[in-house]
Symmetry: C2
Amino acid sequence: MVKISDVAREAGVSVATVSRALNNLDTVRPDLAEQVHRAAAQLGYRPNTLARNLRKQSTQVWALIISDIENPFFTAVARGVEDTAQQNGYSVMLCNSDEDPEKESRYLSVAGQDRVAGVILSPHSASTNVSALNRIPLVVIDRTLNAPFDVVLVRSRLGAQQATKHLLDEGWHRPACITGPQDAETATERSAGYLQALEGTGIEPQVQYQRFRSAEGALATAELLDGKNPPDSFFIGNASLALGVLAELSKRGLRPGVDVGLISFDDAPWAPFINPPISVVAQPAYDIGVQAAQLLVQRIANAGPQAPREVNLATSLIVRESSQRSTN
Amino acid sequence: MVKISDVAREAGVSVATVSRALNNLDTVRPDLAEQVHRAAAQLGYRPNTLARNLRKQSTQVWALIISDIENPFFTAVARGVEDTAQQNGYSVMLCNSDEDPEKESRYLSVAGQDRVAGVILSPHSASTNVSALNRIPLVVIDRTLNAPFDVVLVRSRLGAQQATKHLLDEGWHRPACITGPQDAETATERSAGYLQALEGTGIEPQVQYQRFRSAEGALATAELLDGKNPPDSFFIGNASLALGVLAELSKRGLRPGVDVGLISFDDAPWAPFINPPISVVAQPAYDIGVQAAQLLVQRIANAGPQAPREVNLATSLIVRESSQRSTN
DNA sequence: TTGTACGCGTTATCAT
DNA sequence: ATGATAACGCGTACAA
C-alpha cells in the first residue's frame, strides 16, 4: 500500500505538506498543492482510514439501532438515514435490536467502544440507558426517551384521531381499536387518539392491546366480533396487525368497505393493491430518517452542549376503499 | 479514557502482559492473568478499537451491499447476515446500492479503503468490478459474477418450473409468465423455468419482461389479458409484480383461485393474509444471509487462496388458494 | 509557508 | 513467561 510518505517523496515535499494539501488546508502554496495532488493521483494513493481514525479518535460511521429491520416502516427510515449519511460523508452501521433490550444495550456499548461519529436510535423503552455512548451525539426516533436528546417523532395521536373521526364521518357507528402492547408508546398514542375521537359521541370505546403482529390482529378481531357488542369498523395500530384483521374478516365473509369499515396505521406496500385498497394513516418514514440524519449532522458539527431539539412530523390520511361505506 | 498502560500500572505488570492476558494468549501465568483482569474490570478499561484496527490493519466490520433495502427479500437476507455476524463478533455496515452501478462502486471503494474484514454483495450485474476490494474476502449472493468468488444462490429455475407445473396440474390451461427485466439473471432464470415446464405441452408460452415493480405488474397483466390469446393463469417473478397483477385482476373483477390461477415468487408478509391467500415459491432469504455469512467467516479464517465455493439453496412451493381451481 | 518530530493506543517482535 | 520497544499511518504543534 502506498502511504503518505511515498507521496511526499514523489512530490519532493514533507509528509506534513502532503497532509495539508490533501486536506485542502489553504496554508499551502497552490503550485505545491497541485504537485502533491498529481503525485498522489499517479501513485494511486488512498489515505488509510484506520490511521486517520486513530489519530482523530473518531470515525465517519454512524450506528443506526432499530428495533425491527423487517418492518417496512423501519426500512424506509433506514433508507432516509442512509441516503442522508451518504451525502454527508458518513457510512451507517445497521444494528437490529429485535426489540431485545439486551441486544440493544450490546449495540450501544459497541457503538461507544468503536467511537462512531453518531447514533440514531429507536429505543426499546423510555428508560433505555444510553450512558455507554459516553458523549457520542445521539438522535432518538419513533419513541421518546427519559432523557434530553434530539428526537424526531410523528404526531401519532392526531393521526389516530383523524382516522377514527373519518370512520365516524363515513357512517360507521361502533369503531373498535386494535393496537400494540401498552408498554409501547407508539401503541398507546394511537389508542389515545382513538379515544379522543370518541369523546362526547356516546360511543363506548373498545380497545385491544396486542403485540404488533398479524396473528394477534386476527385474534383481537375474533374476540371483538364474538363479544357482546361487536364493532362495525376498525382502527388498527399498524400494518402487521391489519394483515391479521383482514385474514379474520375474510374468513368470516366480512367485506371491508361494505360490511365493515377499516383503516390502519402505516402505508404498507401492499395496502393500495389488495382488494379492496386499504385506507391508511401514513407515516413519513423516509422523511423521519432524513430529519434524524440532519439533526445528527448538526449535532456533530456543533460539538458544544446545546438544547435538545424535537421535530414533529405530521401523518397523512389516505382514504382508499376499505374505510368507505359502499352501498353494495 | 483509561488505557492499557493504566491497567498495566494498576496490575503491576507491563503493557505487553496486559495485552496478552486480555487476549487470552495462554502464555501468561494464570494468577497474573487473573490480576490483570481484575485491574481492567476495576478501572473499567475498554480496549480502543481504533488503535487495534490500525495495528492489525483490519476491522471487525463487514460491508453488506444490497440492491434494495425496501425489498423484504433483502431485509430478510440482511437479518440472516446480521445475526450470524453478531455471533462471530462482527458488525455489519449497511450499503443500499439502489440498483445504481455508481453507488455500488462507490461502496466497494469505501469498503476497500476502510479495510472492512469482509464483504457480502448482491451485484447489480455480472460484470460488476470488485477490484477496489483488493484482497478483501467477498461472498456474492442472489446473482452470479463473472469472476470466481464464493456465492450463495437459490435454485430459481427449478422453483419456477415447479410452480408452473403446479398451475398445469391444477387444471389451468394457459399460464403466462410475468417477470423482471431481461438483464437481471433472477428474472431470466424464472422465465427459463416457466419455459421448461411448458416444453412438450403444446402450450404457447407468453412471457412479459418488466421492471420488478407493482405498476409494471399491472401493466403486463392488462397487456396479456387484452392480447389475442389471453392467459387463464399467471406465474409471477416477484412479490412487487404480484401486487400489480392482483390490482389489475380485481379491477377487472377476476377472482384469483376462481376465475384465474396465480402463483408468485417470494413469500411476502402479506401473501398468506389477503383474500385469497396467495400461493408462492418461497426463497429461503434468511438462510441465504446465514449461509453467506458463514462462508465469509470461513473465508476470513483461511486467508490463503482457496477454491471458490457455491451454495445452492432450494425454494419451497407453498400452495395456498390463489393457484387452486375452485369450483365456485 | 514548510518541515520535523511526536502522539494516538494497541499488538507483535525480540530479548531476557 | 515477561518486559521493553518498535511499528501501524496519519495529523498537528512547534520550530524554522
